[in-house]
Symmetry: C2
């Protein structure tokens, strides 16, 4: 039985014999009895184990090492002590797996910087128990939302020979011996490689997602994504997870409806299933977390154009580090101001085309792209989406303007020739979402084993 | 409204006006009326649209191209014709996106080989609609099973600097310019690379999964996996998806219970949610499919040791291509015989250690590994798992024997020093599962955009 199962059936189990296996999170040793703070990782709650000197191996129990795996059998009873509602009176208590004395996780507060150095052990701490349980539940919320709403989950490929995203942002992948590359005309001879071509890991499943949306109507991807950015910030990692829904017969307004509906569903789901984790994080990480999430679910997201946003920013009585300008991107400080101004999430749509991607649909006067970013308090940009250009001629022109080689994406252009239709999609960075849901402000602390420049350990 | 939503509410919608957007799957044109076989990809079922010459644009409708995206408004009525129960009498019927005449998908039977060449369009055919809808539903079944049973979903990293799986099976990953690699002592100078080390894409999340199982009790991964194998068979791809559950306080017998329970849940879920797709595949792909799946759900899986399996094979009155031998692996033909002999799935456990991996627990006389393969009819090996070695000294010995460098996996060895416990896990190849669930016998036809040697198109 796990602790989670025990708590689910606690009324039936009171005064019954139970058997649990888990770990010692702390221990108070007395002459005639002792207490163990026990957790098996199955839920946020711990359990107090009381053991008495009447146990045959009492002395041995009093010498247990912190962190050891133990098995306990005993009666579950209401606790008379303060600090917990229940406890187990041990009848049998043995060590299954001992813990060496140099165990880095001690029953005290560790810095998050230190815990990153023991990424294989940090999930045993209360903070990372909460973060990674929320991560798991949020992932399932996302799958549940899309599946219940008729979307097909598509596993788009990661390996690709098309570099239309800009190959300098993509990792190259090879089976060749890099100490001894085959050469042709002075360059690497990729015809000797497994795919007989230069190959990359893609940074997006969108193009492939479009092919499936035009067959299945509504689809989503959810998988790992890679960027080579040599950037050491709190919000960048070289490997992260992304969700990319794509919807046929859907315009920009409908897309915003879907983004809003989905985000509210996910937040609500996590509030419902992870109430203890949220309480914990609200207490120790971000005292505004619970209020922020609860408010989001009930709010109506604001929608303003990029032009309106710039106007607002220009009118603001704020000394900007970067002056806001029509036609230009907005900075972190602007995102922050906008979410504070609206006191909640805000969609900014109709962006100057020059700062947006080649595949986005242009408005009638070809000035703006029908793109939308969702800005949320505390995190900034959480989702980015757009209507897709459906006119093959405009699309080809845009590729030309932006030096996108269309040869490897002829198939993508085909989608405009064979029964194309208005369609839209967005990308949601999963780690950004987890930061939003937990209040944790560094991406390294919401990924199990983060990969950032110079750092690919474990 | 999607077709799926329409069929869900069909009783309420009869004789009501409906509006749909989707594609022409075929069209029969007459002088005074015509029929369109309409699908929007939201479900397996299509809808018949009837249009009459009373429509203003009748001539235009009669010149619609096959494959075009259309919008229809009309009354949903019970059909008097044979072949369908309902139809829509069009009041308005327009083209949203035309389809060029060279559309490769024509309303006739195409070979699967041909359809692989148009992987961006094949999801529009009935076969791939069924396969990829089942793939999506099966993925959700897997998430639902594990989440409902208290497992934590863990996104283990793909980028790794440890090559303990055998780096010849792993893709190398770099940000360096491969036409002009920096050199040091004649070799590639990886200290100039993003992670300052030689980096790979991993072929398994198991090691990282173990770290999380020893914190959260029960965890699973579900993500893409890569192998460099230069092997052109029906069951090998260089990129595929894998599920890797890992369970603390779980021995080999309990692991088999979990594998059996999970597989039955997933098959049952798919039979329930995809009955139309299964009927279709049963009719056109594998006439034993439905019976096979239905039987599996009710059966009790057999369990035999590797030694017993070899004995059975040796006693069989079969002329083998590969003679079965104690101490050796079993071949495809042996797997087939065993599943036919037991007329269903069979677990083969306790394998000779020399043909199994270094991290698997050895039995007391150190002859066998506590490993288990699940063999299923039609596919062969579907899952492979084991108890993990918990004794750090035996583990180090095994690494030495098998030339596994332990330096980059010191953290993994730590898990044995700090509160280790009996734990087990298995790997399930997602594509193998989809082949089993659909009866489709080539892995290229169950992956949206397959990557195999020399083939990384789209």
């Amino acid at each position: 039985m796990t602790l989670k199962e025990l708590y689910q059936d606690i009324d039936k189990l009171i005064d019954k014999k139970v058997k649990l296996q888990g770990w010692i999170r702390s221990q108070r040793k007395q002459k005639d009895f002792g207490f163990i703070d026990f957790s098996d990782g199955s839920c946020h709650k711990h359990m107090q184990i009381v053991y008495e000197s009447s146990l045959k191996n009492f002395d041995e129990i009093n010498s247990f090492h912190f962190g050891s795996a133990i098995e306990v059998e005993g009666n579950l009873v209401k606790s008379e002590g303060s600090g917990q509602d229940y406890e187990i009176k041990a009848k049998k208590l043995i060590v299954i797996g001992d813990c060496d004395d140099d165990y880095p996780i001690q029953p005290k507060r560790h810095t998050r910087e230190f815990l990153r150095e023991v990424a294989h052990l940090r999930p045993r701490t209360n903070l990372f128990q909460a973060v990674f349980r929320i991560r798991s539940v949020a992932a399932h919320a996302i799958h549940t939302y899309f599946q219940d709403n008729g979307y097909i989950y598509v596993n788009t490929p990661l390996l690709t020979t098309a570099d239309c995203e800009g190959s300098d942002q993509m990792f190259k992948v090879t089976t060749l011996d890099m100490d001894n590359l085959p050469k042709k005309d002075g360059n690497c001879d990729f015809s000797k490689d497994l795919f007989k071509q230069k190959t990359f890991i893609t940074g997006s499943g969108q193009l492939h997602g479009e092919a499936f949306a035009l067959a299945f109507n509504k689809i989503y991807t959810f998988g790992p994504t890679f960027r080579t950015e040599n950037s050491n910030t709190k919000t960048h990692a070289n490997e992260f997870w992304m969700i990319e829904p794509e919807i046929a017969f859907c315009d920009l307004n409908q897309l915003m409806d879907i983004e809003e509906d989905m985000l509210k569903f996910v937040v609500n789901y996590v509030l419902d299933k992870c109430s203890e984790e949220i309480e914990f994080l609200n207490k120790f990480v971000d005292k505004t977390l619970k209020e922020k999430l609860t408010k989001l679910v009930k709010s109506k997201f604001n929608r303003i154009t990029h032009e309106e946003a710039i106007k607002l920013l220009k009118e603001a009585k704020v000394k900007w580090e970067f002056e806001p300008e029509y036609g230009e991107d907005i900075a972190k400080e602007h995102e922050k101001y906008l979410t504070e101004y609206f006191n909640g999430p805000v969609f900014v749509y109709n962006w100057p085309k020059d700062i947006k991607a080649w595949y986005m649909k242009l408005d009638d006067d070809k000035k703006n792209a029908l793109a939308v970013d969702l800005e949320v308090p505390g995190v900034g940009e959480l989702m980015g989406g757009s209507e897709r250009e459906t006119d093959i001629n405009i699309l080809k022109e845009r590729c030309k303007e932006l030096n996108v080689d269309t040869d490897p994406i002829e198939w993508f252009l085909d989608l405009r020739r064979f029964g194309g239709c208005v369609h839209s999609g967005f990308g949601l960075g999963f780690e950004r979402l987890i930061m939003y849901l937990t209040g944790v402000d560094n991406i390294r602390d919401v990924i199990p084993f983060p990969r950032t420049p110079s750092s690919c350990d474990f």
